[in-house]
Point group: C2
Chain length 242, copies 2
């Protein structure tokens, strides 16, 4: 129905109140496996077994942008600053925060605990050696957890992690980002293991190195690995081209 005439105000009927949050899926690589940064949400009268684990996220403030909020929240809960963060999906199922187990924490920490919450997911990639998580604000702990050992998390955080991982894989397969996840100096073996871990399949060493040698951004250093119990590897670094 087309109507050019004045009409009743429609949106009044459709709008609603929402909480808006940001949740960060932070992947870390320790040279061996992928980990995810989790925080503990402790309640006043909770015993340690009742810790709820979650990914670091919180409500967005009135006057900050989403990216800005993601950085602030990650930093305030885990002290990780200056990391690469990329928005990957908005999660807005109407029932995403209504599970019984999560209610106590919501009651304590939200002004409107029953309000529907929509969250925007960000993912990140860091080298574990470069960042030491330190819990603060409402996080009672902040620690790395191997991807395979992730416990049930609050809300739909398990789904968010899964979606973040899928997006990470896509981005890596299309030759993006991966260098965010390595220490400044790395060996080709580490780079290959990282690809294998993220992509979930093994790669041929010679072919892999052939490809890397075509990337002008990966440059060898005048330095070798030390303190390892085998032949030391050449170290490389990543120079972003302008």
């Amino acid at each position: 129905m087309k109507t050019n005439a004045p009409r009743p105000i429609e949106s009044d009927l459709t709008g609603s109140d929402f909480d808006l949050s940001v949740d960060n899926v932070v992947f870390g690589f320790d040279g061996d496996q992928l980990q995810v940064l989790l925080i503990g949400l402790t309640g006043e009268d909770m015993r340690p077994e009742q810790f709820h684990m979650a990914i670091p996220g919180d409500l967005v403030k009135a006057n900050e942008g989403l990216d800005e909020a993601a950085h602030r929240i990650l930093s305030s809960l885990t002290s990780l600053k200056g990391v690469f963060l990329k928005q990957f999906y908005a999660f807005g199922a109407p029932d995403r925060v209504i599970e019984e187990k999560d209610r106590e924490w919501l009651m304590r920490s939200r002004r409107y605990p029953k309000r529907r919450a929509v969250t925007v997911g960000y993912y990140s990639l860091v080298s574990i050696a470069d960042y030491l998580p330190v819990a603060s604000s409402f996080a009672s702990k902040a620690e790395w957890c191997p991807l395979a050992d992730i416990p049930p998390l609050t809300f739909d955080h398990n789904e968010i992690v899964a979606a973040g991982l899928e997006r990470l894989r896509q981005d890596v397969a299309h030759h993006n980002i991966i260098f965010e996840l390595l220490p400044e100096k790395f060996t080709l073996g580490q780079l290959q293991r990282l690809h294998e871990i993220i992509l979930g399949k093994s790669l041929d060493k010679r072919n892999f190195r052939k490809n890397v040698k075509r990337m002008s951004e990966v440059v060898p250093l005048d330095e070798k690995q030390a303190g390892v119990l085998h032949k030391p590897a050449q170290l490389y670094t990543y120079k972003k081209s302008v």
Copy 2:
């Protein structure tokens, strides 16, 4: 600072009230160029020259999911039903709805016109021949507009369209979706033109056809084009593989 002890409720200080909306960037292909579906937002006392054009979007209801909202809103404003819609990005800059020119419409149509609005962008792909937009609800018109001729739109809708186009290009380059945008029966020439238009570069005809012939989903029909002023082309259709 780590604190296991009871602590003040932090989120009370950070939360805020948001409007949550969905905006749809609907691309249509007419065999010749890409168009975008726009609606007109008319005010009671606006003259036609003062129409504000926008992409079809509105507030999400309290009890519906985001995908669901995107379909409802698109259908209620333009009558397009059953189209493919894909979420691509959340836009949440704090100042995205504060421009002077947009205020009148907000005052009239929102319960809290000054409230910050976060929107989730969806894009879609349809064949123009298959869908006739019909304006309803608060849309005073609903019509296709060639990509190159898009006027200044309300809010940050021009940015949203640009971001949607970029994402469309990525998805097409990775061999997704394109068949959503063609009529049921199409010629290889149309398919190639569509790729060229979306990707913004020209492709070699023989190489293109070589590639298409490798896709088992594209099957020739027992039918040829008719009514064209040149050699009629073989018609093909797309069969989704199970």
